[in-house]
Structure formats: structure tokens, C-alpha cells
Symmetry: C2
Subunit: 214 residues, 2 copies
């Protein structure tokens, strides 16, 4: 599983990891090269020695996540089983990845809602997921209108990522930690129920459509 980072020394990766964690916590602009060096326990100049600039370092962080995310979804994208099974598989892989890399949704959202100079990179990475969803849903959704596949793409993305963005803010009103293993399992069950419910409703909708066509 090459990610273009194998040639880098251990030290370089330590710096990358430190930057990754810090930027996830407080955002790109709020993190300084000094902060990164301090977290990694090295001299600030090393950050530039290994990564050239703060922007390039951030590029590499995003690229590492994209690569890992792509890889995590690759297996799930294989077209076996019913539509329902396939969607469940991808949603599960998506949730798995989010749970294992909680900084990731934060980085993406920071890019999308901030001045992020990496907006195009985010799109380039989101695109395959978007295309796959459109392809898979083509047979169960109308081609256009409020029930078109693209709407469900955004809906499901919102459901999955929204939890990781909003739940931590609500933890004082939650019963327990919304990021605990139990809470995440409960969320997963909720998302599964949602997917099943939506697919059933779409079935019913297309039957209705066919009847009215007679």
C-alpha cells in the first residue's frame, strides 16, 4: 500500500503526524510551524528541511488521508450483492474510516467552510464517491427531481459526516460520550435503518409511478 511517503524518514513522519493532529484540533491557520515542531519535539527548521513549506506539508497530510480513504472504500465499491447490500457495505466502510480517523472529517470540513486553498483537491477526491453513488442508485431513483441520486448522495453524506461534526458539541446533552464505542454502534444502526427505510420508500415510490403510468 504505497502512499508516496515510504521514502520519508521516521523523523519526517513524526513531524507529519504532529501537524496532522494539531491542524485537526485547531485548524490550519491557527497552527504555526513552531507549534508543529514543539509537538514533534524537534527544531522548527526541521519542518522546512523535510517538507519544504507549511502548505506542502498540509498537502501531504490531505493526500495521505485521501489515499487511505480511497483504499478503505476500494473493496466496498465492488459490485456484488443487492443494491441494499452494496450501499450498506460502502456506508459501513465510510463509518469505519471516520471512526478510525476522527481528524479527517474535521480537515475536510475546514477546507470546505474555510478559505481552504485545497477546495479543488477535496472535490477531486470526493468525485469518485459521488460518481459511484450515482451509478449505484441509478436503478432505484428517478433521473431528475427531488428524489434523484445526487440528492441522496448529499443526504447520506450529511448523515454520516454530520454526526462527527455536531455530536461532539452536544456531548453535555447526550447520555454519555457520543464518540464512545457504544454510541458509535448505535449511530451505525441508525444509519443502517435510514438506508433501508429510504430504499424501501424508493421502491414504493417507483411502484406508484408505474401504476400511475398504466
Amino acid at each position: 500500500m504505497p502512499n508516496g511517503l515510504e521514502s520519508k524518514t521516521e523523523r519526517a513522519i513524526e513531524i507529519l503526524d504532529a501537524a496532522d493532529a494539531l491542524i485537526g484540533e485547531v485548524g490550519y491557520d491557527a497552527v504555526s510551524a513552531r507549534d508543529i515542531a514543539a509537538r514533534a519535539g524537534v527544531n522548527k527548521a526541521l519542518v522546512f528541511y523535510y517538507w519544504g513549506s507549511k502548505a506542502e506539508l498540509f498537502d501531504k497530510i490531505l493526500e495521505r488521508y485521501y489515499q487511505a480513504h480511497r483504499q478503505a472504500l476500494a473493496g466496498a465499491f465492488e459490485a456484488e450483492g443487492s443494491t441494499r447490500e452494496r450501499i450498506h457495505r460502502v456506508v459501513d466502510a465510510y463509518l469505519d474510516f471516520m471512526e478510525q480517523h476522527r481528524v479527517y472529517p474535521r480537515l475536510i470540513q475546514q477546507q470546505l467552510t474555510g478559505g481552504g486553498t485545497h477546495r479543488e483537491a477535496v472535490l477531486r477526491h470526493l468525485a469518485p464517491f459521488f460518481d459511484w453513488t450515482l451509478l449505484q442508485l441509478a436503478e432505484v431513483t428517478p433521473r431528475t427531481g427531488p428524489l434523484a441520486a445526487r440528492q441522496f448522495y448529499l443526504t447520506i453524506s450529511g448523515i454520516v459526516t454530520g454526526y462527527f461534526t455536531y455530536a461532539p458539541a452536544l456531548d453535555s446533552r447526550w447520555d454519555g460520550d457520543p464518540m464512545s464505542a457504544e454510541a458509535l454502534d448505535e449511530r451505525r444502526a441508525h444509519v443502517h435503518w435510514m438506508v433501508d427505510t429510504l430504499l424501501s420508500a424508493l421502491d414504493a415510490e417507483s411502484e406508484k409511478q408505474e401504476k400511475s403510468r398504466d
Copy 2:
């Protein structure tokens, strides 16, 4: 409709508006007092003369949005009609507000995903909406588990806000501008269909529950 800003001069509000727009575009950290002054067409020192500090200025921006949002939802919160009607009313008010203040979801997400020192303020503001949703859904959802009201709160929030976060990034793959009036209408119809579908499914779920109890 007092918002605590009536005592401020026109000039002060111009500065607030400039800061509002800029921060929405590129984020709090990336905007300087010089940028704000330039956008407002005034001397930088005026920013501090009227608002004290950059942080206080940002507080006021958030407060103004919160106040407007609260006001926009106030009418919708009144408990008339069926659960379905009430939820539709609030969701519509939510969508209306988002459409009219497109910077708002960006600011909130910036706070939640960045180092935002205003996290507690965001929660304080989110709380009434959360509580209202729990109250309204109490009679149609189980008290605990994957179909509990709190899950639907996050799900619906994610569906509504996710669109405004993700759709602009996908506009090159959309057919037309996802933020155009027509696209937003289509999205609204989608959300309405979602709400109806979920409420029906919850009905069916509770009937199933009752039968298995016999």
C-alpha cells in the same frame, strides 16, 4: 426585534457586515483587521474604536446570527397541527434561514471543526433546537436506541446543513448551480419527502412494536 445592536452607528454596522462577509469566506484566522477595514472602506483603527477587539467583533457577529436564527424559528416552534406539520414548519424555517444567510452554516461549521473559542456559545444556541426536536419527536420515537429522537435530530441537521457545506464543492458535477433558486427548491422538496418518509416509517415501526408486545 431588538438585537443589542441598535445603539451602534451606521459605520459600526458597516464594519460588522464587512467582517461577517470576510470571515464567512475565508475563516476567522485568515481575516485580518486590515482586511476588514479595507472592505468597509475605513481606517483600521476604527475597527477597534467601535468593537474593541477582533474577538469581540466576532462575538457580535455570531450573536447577531443566533438572534436572527432564534427569531426565525420562534414562530415555527409554536405547537399547532400534527407532528408532521410542525416538523415541516421548523424544517422550512431552517431552510429559509440558511438560504437567506449562507454565511451562517459556514461560520458554525468553522467553529465546530476549528479551534473555535466559541464552541460553548454554539452549543448554547443549538440547545433549544435540540430540546425542541426531542420534545416533538418524543411521541413518535422510542426513548432509547438507534431510533431515538436525538439520532433524528443529528440526521435532519446533517441533511439540512450538509447540503450547504458540500453542494458548492460539487457544483462542477451538478447540472447547474446547486445554490440557484431552482436547485434549492428541489432540495427543499427532497427534505420534505425525507421527513414524511421517516415519520411514516416510525409509525410503522411503533405498530410493529405494539403487535410484538401482544
